[in-house]
């Protein structure tokens, strides 16, 4: 159970929206291991947006500037092939995608489309950079989690020219 940030007698002063956001972030593998205080700081930097089913969140080749976390609904990650789009992964609440935009300025390596309607949290790269500058702990934990995801992906992906992202690969 996610710990409440304020003591019980101050519950009337608690913002339910912020209290609701932090548990989603704590569930995401990218932010696992961050203490509540830092999750609270992270949660305030996210924008929230509603997407209809079928909405394209970003397309392969788009400039990547933000990380997304699924709050409600599902998101399909697809990649264009000669035989048509192939679904690489389907994400649900708590899952994060677009995380490579936080590290480099390369275009998106796959397309993200809203499967069933729902809400996403959006973290802009500059906000994340500012957070990392202000807290080495956030930088270390998130980079460690990201490196672990990349290691898992690298271990199960055969290296050959022209290989696209495999199911579950960071975007």
């Amino acid at each position: 159970m996610f710990e409440h940030p304020l003591p019980g007698w101050l519950s009337w002063a608690t913002d339910p929206e912020q209290v609701r956001r932090a548990p989603f972030l704590s569930r995401s593998p990218l932010f696992a291991g961050l203490p509540r205080r830092l999750l609270g700081r992270l949660a305030t930097r996210f924008f929230e947006k509603f997407y209809h089913a079928g909405d394209v969140i970003f397309e392969e080749g788009d400039p990547g500037r933000a990380l997304f976390v699924v709050v409600e609904g599902s998101v399909e990650i697809t990649r264009a092939t000669a035989k048509g789009p192939v679904v690489l992964n389907t994400l649900g609440p708590g899952d994060a995608f677009g995380e490579l935009a936080l590290i480099d300025d390369f275009p998106r390596s796959a397309t993200a489309r809203q499967g069933t309607e729902g809400r996403l949290l959006i973290l802009y790269k500059s906000d994340f950079d500012a957070l990392m500058e202000g807290s080495a702990r956030i930088a270390v934990v998130v980079m460690h989690n990201l490196a672990r995801q990349l290691t898992i992906y690298a271990r199960r992906t055969p290296v050959f020219p022209g290989a696209g992202p495999e199911p579950g690969a960071p975007l």
């Binding site: 205080r37 609270g40 700081r41 929230e48 947006k49 397309e59 400039p63 809203q114 802009y124 500059s126």
Partner: protein, 351 residues
């Protein structure tokens, strides 16, 4: 449907035109909200309701203002009253000096006389024109000031409390394909303006305090008043520091017993403050928010002055920075989309 939408937009424009008198209070309220936003953002990390945070902040500010009023108010009021008493006499003295210079000029070069406005006593007329002559005028001035004092915190309260809700509504209305660039733009603009306003206020406070201390040490009259003016004028790039130095120099010239040595002390003091401000204070306060070429910086201030006067000079630098960042992001977005289109339609590459 299209006609209704057009009608709605026309109504909105008309409403904004009617409410144009509120532009200054809203602008100042936004600046005030930016000043307080780091404290609100800190409270957000503890999941405290915005209304509670802003309420507590405003109570604290009122308390600080009341205490500061008790500590600094009597001194500032006494200096202000003394200056007001001396103002007509000072204006007369300056006019006598100016008349003598004009007479000399007219004797040596009669053509110059035609370039100057007719009659004498320019400074006295300037001072008297600005003083409210009728009790009705005085009430109008006080009324405007009172309205600003009420409206600025009122708008700032709601901006701080509800801005994130307005942003959430705007985000939900954005087409999905523009979300990332829009978030990037908003964050950059918000960051630049916020850092600039907070830096400017911090810079003004430090410069004002240094000027007041320096003038007090140099035994110049009205150090608190002149220091406060130096801090306020500092928000106007280039011209502000010159004006505050000129005001202090004028007071020294018109104070018996100060002489040229006093003017020299004031010049050295304001030069030292300017150098310190440019090399040490500004890099820590507003340096990180502005990345403009010096020529563009000066150009934006000149254009701002032509467009909106003093207000234009104050907003010119952040406006130019925001414009520069927006153009950079939009061009970057366009280039990336063009690259993607080329990948999807390589035949477009054929010349």
């Amino acid at each position: 449907m299209k006609a209704f939408r057009l009608l709605g937009w026309a109504g909105l424009v008309a409403l904004l035109w009617l409410a144009r008198g509120l532009l200054l209070p809203v602008f100042l309220a936004a600046a005030f909200a930016y000043l307080l936003s780091p404290a609100v953002a800190w409270a957000d990390t503890l999941a405290i309701r915005r209304s509670v945070t802003v309420g507590v902040l405003f109570t604290l500010i009122v308390t600080v203002l009341v205490v500061a009023g008790f500590l600094l108010g009597p001194g500032l009021l006494a200096e202000g009253a003394a200056l007001m008493d001396r103002l007509p006499g000072l204006a007369r003295q300056i006019d006598q000096g100016l008349d003598a210079v004009v007479r000399e000029l007219a004797e040596s070069a009669p053509a110059v006389r035609r370039l100057l406005p007719e009659g004498g006593g320019w400074v006295q007329r300037f001072v008297l024109d600005r003083a409210p002559a009728e009790p009705a005028d005085l009430f109008e001035h006080v009324g405007h000031l009172f309205l600003l004092v009420i409206l600025i915190p009122f708008f700032a309260f709601f901006l701080l409390r509800d801005m994130h809700r307005l942003m959430a509504v705007a985000m939900d209305r954005l087409p999905p394909q523009h979300v990332e660039t829009s978030v990037a733009l908003w964050r950059e603009i918000n960051g630049v303006i916020g850092r600039y306003i907070r830096g400017l206020v911090m810079d003004g406070l430090v410069v004002g305090a240094l000027a007041a201390l320096g003038l007090w040490a140099a035994r110049v009259p009205y150090p608190l008043l002149l220091g406060a003016f130096a801090g306020l004028a500092n928000v106007v790039p280039f011209v502000g520091p010159l004006l505050s130095a000129a005001a202090a120099g004028l007071v020294v010239v018109l104070t018996p017993g100060q002489g040229l040595a006093g003017v020299g002390r004031v010049v050295v003091l304001f030069l030292a403050i300017k150098v310190l401000d440019d090399t040490v204070i500004q890099p820590f306060t507003i340096g990180r928010s502005v990345h403009l070429h010096p020529a563009l910086l000066l150009g934006s201030v000149v254009v701002g002055n032509h467009a909106l006067g003093v207000l234009g000079m104050i907003v010119a630098v952040p406006a130019a920075t925001v414009l520069q960042e927006s153009v950079r992001l939009l061009l970057e977005h366009r280039r990336a989309l063009a690259r993607r289109d080329l990948r999807h339609h390589p035949q477009r590459l054929v010349v």
